[in-house]
């Protein structure tokens, strides 16, 4: 389980109405990048005001003042072998290097991005023609190509600029093409076609704004490199021609004097270092701030276990009901100085051999509840603030990491929604089953493999002995989910936590998987915690069901009773929203409005704003669960009237 698998979950919880931190704020927060920005601004500012500074002419030679050392009055950085003022040459040279470097970057970005965007958008022949051309350019060693271009065009600053721009085109073309290809397959491009836009308009108004961050990232990371290359060409005498100064040619001229007057070459060298270093630091910062992959948390390493508050870890023990007993569990996400209260104290227990359904809409906290049980919520930003998860008279929130690892995939096993992302793509399913067993028990590979095949047979995979050698991508969605179930069964679990295991499957396959889970639960006597958003599925597999809304259980009880006589208005209205496959109902009942945001939950009943029975007292204080009968409770002050 990685953060990647949780990314959709987090975005479901916070994505839609969560305001993004602005890229500039992110940039400034990165200290190195901010330092780079400050230094670069300083250098650029000085370069800009150079013409108005009281400096001697950078090209005026004064043979009598040759090689004056630095810190001499009148020549603060000394003079070179022709008696020219180094400070003046340095500032004018920096101007040149900056202009050439930036101009080359812009030219390369313009041409390269155009090629990339066109190739990526039109695909097929256009793509192969353009990209093969780019490949050919990349086949030449980089600096050799630049040298060859300058050799053809003749030495000179402008030609060096062309050469550097050309050799950098492939970087832009490749980066931009990659992004464009993924954008091209997004539905909004099709939507724009259907809005009557032609391809040119789509490229400019739909694709380009989305590609722009990538172009900026590539520019920020290459401009320093380009300045270095300009300096390199000038150093070789192919760029700036005497007497014009740029950093590379100053370095080249100072090279011969390195033993007698080292400052002549050191000064431009230090300047190149400062310039390129500040640009690179800034460039890395820009990339971190803009790159969507980094933003999605690819660099964030979540802890092996959800952070848990001391209070939750040390909660005192009491007598446990059933196999699993969860009490007042609270999980929060701390993001951007806001607290998102995803799980607000659900209390439930599961008996041996029982199937408890957890039903709710997206964002109701049902998945976070399930993942909190074994500390699988990504941390940061997740944090378990309180409550207890009791299994076999032990509070799982308080045990050591090693003990927890033994429970995970052992006595407590998970099945997730998308088996393609939970199975490893590079190992055969047999190997993955073997690994699941061997990480819990000392068992030989051959024995484990035999058991893996038996497991695959148990989940009714035809020709299991051969299928064990398949990779996940070679199996259909239903087959893959059977493999996940086999993996959950591998270590004889007492409780299986299934998080929407059939949501991604077709209805006929879903029916088979549900039948399979029912049979396995009967055969093995394991308990099942089944998370879903579908009442039909609940009715098919569950004994009891808990309805969740805004992180709370609003109703819990036997399935048939709740379906026949829902006590909470939310449950009642949720059931009547579902179109009935057995009869036509005419107008469907709908629930107006949206669930409350979990970073701004109301004090009283969380459903109050959407409820048709709301009264003043609903909003005043938290509503307690009301007991309907021994097994059935609802969190509504009108619960008894509703039934």
């Amino acid at each position: 389980m990685t953060t990647n698998a949780q990314a959709p979950l987090l975005s479901r919880l916070f994505g839609r109405r969560h305001s993004r931190t602005s890229p500039l704020a992110l940039l400034v927060r990165n200290r190195l990048a901010a330092a780079g920005l400050v230094v670069l601004c300083l250098v650029v500012f000085i370069a800009l005001i150079t013409p108005w500074l009281p400096l001697p002419d950078p090209n005026a030679t004064q043979p009598s003042d040759r090689l004056i050392p630095p810190f001499t009055t009148g020549h603060w950085l000394g003079t070179d072998q022709l008696g020219r003022d180094i400070l003046s040459r340095l500032l004018w040279g920096t101007r040149v290097s900056l202009v050439v470097g930036i101009a080359a970057t812009l030219v390369a970005a313009l041409i390269g991005s155009t090629i990339g965007i066109v190739a990526g958008y039109f695909g097929k022949r256009v793509d192969s023609t353009l990209m093969r051309g780019i490949d050919m350019m990349m086949a030449f060693p980089y600096i050799l190509l630049a040298l060859a271009i300058v050799a053809v065009l003749g030495p000179g600053l402008l030609n060096a600029l062309y050469a550097i721009a050309i050799v950098n085109i492939p970087f832009f073309a490749r980066n931009v093409r990659g992004v464009t290809v993924t954008l091209r397959n997004r539905e909004f491009v099709d939507a724009a076609l259907l809005s009557g836009k032609n391809h040119f308009l789509i490229l400019v108004t739909e694709i380009l704004p989305n590609v722009l961050p990538v172009i900026v990232i590539t520019m920020s990371t290459t401009v320093g490199w380009m300045i270095l290359e300009t300096a390199g060409l000038s150093f070789l005498g192919l760029g700036a021609q005497p007497p014009q100064a740029d950093l590379g040619s100053m370095l080249g001229e100072g090279r011969r004097l390195i033993s007698t007057a080292p400052f002549v070459s050191t000064v431009p060298g230090v300047m190149i270092f400062i310039l390129v270093m500040s640009i690179n630091l800034l460039g890395d910062g820009i990339r971190d701030a803009l790159d969507p992959r980094l933003k999605a948390g690819a660099l964030r390493r979540p802890a092996a276990r959800t952070r848990t508050s001391v209070e939750a870890r040390q909660a005192s023990q009491y007598e446990q009901r059933g196999v699993l007993d969860v009490r007042a569990l609270r999980t929060e996400f701390h993001l951007d100085n806001q607290v998102h209260r995803a799980v607000n104290g659900p209390t439930f227990s599961i008996e041996a051999g029982e199937c408890l359904g957890i039903i709710g809409e997206s964002g109701s906290g049902k998945s976070v509840t399930a993942m909190s049980l074994l500390g699988l919520v990504a941390s940061p930003p997740g944090m378990i603030m309180g409550g207890q998860v009791n299994y076999r008279d032990t509070n799982l929130l308080g045990i050591s990491d090693n003990d927890l690892r033994r429970y995970r995939g052992g006595e407590l096993a998970y099945i997730f929604q998308d088996p393609l992302s939970t199975l490893h793509p590079l190992f055969t399913v047999g190997d993955q089953l073997v690994e699941a067993m061997r990480s819990h028990y000392a068992i030989s590979y051959t024995d484990a493999w035999k058991k893996a095949v038996t497991l695959l047979e148990e989940v009714r995979i035809p020709n299991a002995a051969n299928r064990a050698h398949s990779y996940p991508h070679q199996l259909s969605g239903g087959m893959r989910q059977r493999v996940s179930i086999a993996m959950a069964l591998a270590n004889e679990p007492k409780l299986i936590i299934a998080d929407e295991p059939t949501t991604a499957l077709d209805v006929t396959v879903q029916a088979q998987i549900l039948a399979l889970l029912n049979r396995l639960r009967d055969d093995k006597g394991a308990s099942l915690m089944f998370i879903t958003h579908d009442f039909g599925v609940v009715r098919q597999v569950c004994h009891r069901v808990a309805v969740m809304y805004a992180g709370e259980i609003v109703e819990i009880g036997p399935v048939e009773e709740i379906l026949a006589q829902p006590a909470h208005p939310y449950t009642r209205r949720l059931i009547s929203c579902v179109p009935d496959v057995e009869r036509k109902t005419g107008k469907l009942e709908e629930i107006p409005g949206l669930p409350p945001q979990v970073n701004n939950l109301p004090e009283g009943c969380k459903f109050a704003d959407r409820c048709d029975m709301v009264a003043d007292q609903c909003r005043q204080a938290p509503i307690e669960l009301k007991t309907m009968n021994e097994r059935h409770q609802a969190r509504c002050i009108f619960a008894k009237e509703v039934v």
């Binding site: 539905e187 099709d190 939507a191 259907l194 009557g196 704004p209 009714r460 396959v509 599925v537 496959v581």
Partner: protein, 332 residues
């Protein structure tokens, strides 16, 4: 390509009519003349939709229903076959598609409401595009029309200046509907428009679609895998399996008296109807290989009533407009 039946076989009252529609992906020959494998996504499909009717197309993933939808609106070109709207051809073999002309008459609502809205554009920019490029409206007309559209999909006009990420799934889907309506089309093709939404929100969107149809006398082609939704919304249903229609009938007839064994299986697979699921937990739900479609009925391998005849020749869709089935041994 063989000669295709002419439009004369279709009745004039048919609003949208599709005949012999075929779509293959890939195929053709490589540079050295080797034949490339082709995926047979849609195989000889024919159906029609009356004006003001809602035709539901149901089927499981990979059956080609989305490909049909994309061909109807011109996002994909058919490999062969005809699509006609009100008697005039929208797609004919060998002729390029006039996407703009098409977009004025037939529009599309996407499955994933957020992915179909450009994240860097405001709702105003998104809704203005069809008004400018399809309807050629001036500034004043656009302003009036934008307000009208937002009202029609029950959204407040001040939402126009917001970006897609600020909306919930249901609101975003209503924006998708508004965009489709902007061009004042006769037909809407809706590709799983509510499958990404929560049930409470799904009901809002479905009711909106019902209202809009009555208000503007729209014709819908409604693609879905959710049988409950189809039962409640559609007038007629076509069941697709592996690129073909295996059964089509009026909604009530199909749900009360399914004749194709696949339709029966689909209906019996819906969980929670109170019936015990008749399907076992055996894994025999594999579709045939789309690169090499079988000569006979594609469902034969899973069918309880399959005979040798079924495995050798593919049954044609036979019957009346009210109920037609492609099966040699239909259920009674």
């Amino acid at each position: 390509m063989t000669a295709l039946p002419t439009g004369s076989t279709m009745q004039a009252s048919n609003h949208l009519a599709v005949s012999d529609l075929v779509k293959q992906f890939g195929g053709g020959r490589s540079l050295i003349g080797r034949e490339l494998p082709a995926v047979h996504a849609v195989r000889k499909l024919a159906f029609h939709v009356e004006a003001g009717e809602i035709l539901g197309i149901v089927g499981e993933s990979g059956c080609g229903k989305s490909t049909v939808a994309r061909m109807l609106v011109g996002l994909d070109a058919p490999t062969s076959g005809r699509i006609e709207l009100g008697g005039s051809p929208l797609a004919e073999p060998g002729k390029p598609i006039h996407r703009r002309a098409l977009a004025n008459r037939i529009q599309y609502v996407f499955q994933d409401p957020l992915s179909s809205l450009n994240p860097r554009k405001t709702i105003r920019q998104i809704l203005t595009a069809p008004l400018v490029y399809l309807k050629h409206m001036d500034k004043e007309q656009i302003e009036t029309r934008l307000k009208e559209l937002m009202e029609q999909v029950n959204l407040r006009a001040e939402f126009l200046s917001r970006y897609p990420h600020e909306f919930s799934g249901g609101q975003a889907q209503r924006i998708g509907v508004a965009r489709a309506l902007a061009a004042e089309p006769e037909v809407l093709v809706l590709d799983e428009p509510v499958s990404a939404l929560d049930v409470s929100v799904q009901a809002q969107v479905l009711n909106l679609l019902q209202d809009l149809r009555k208000r503007f006398n729209l014709t819908y082609v409604f693609i879905s895998h959710d049988l409950g939704v189809v039962r409640n919304l559609c007038d007629r249903v076509a069941v697709m399996y592996f690129g073909r229609i295996v059964e089509t009938a009026d909604t009530d007839t199909l749900f009360s008296n399914p004749q194709h064994h696949y339709t029966r299986l689909l209906l019996d697979s819906v969980p929670g109807t109170g019936k015990q699921l008749s399907v076992g937990d055996q894994a025999n739900a594999e579709l045939p290989d789309p690169l090499k479609p079988p000569p006979g009925c594609a469902f034969a391998a899973r069918c309880p009533a399959a005979t040798d005849q079924c495995r050798q020749t593919d049954p044609e869709l036979k019957g009346t407009d009210a109920h037609a089935v492609a099966c040699y041994h239909p259920e009674k």
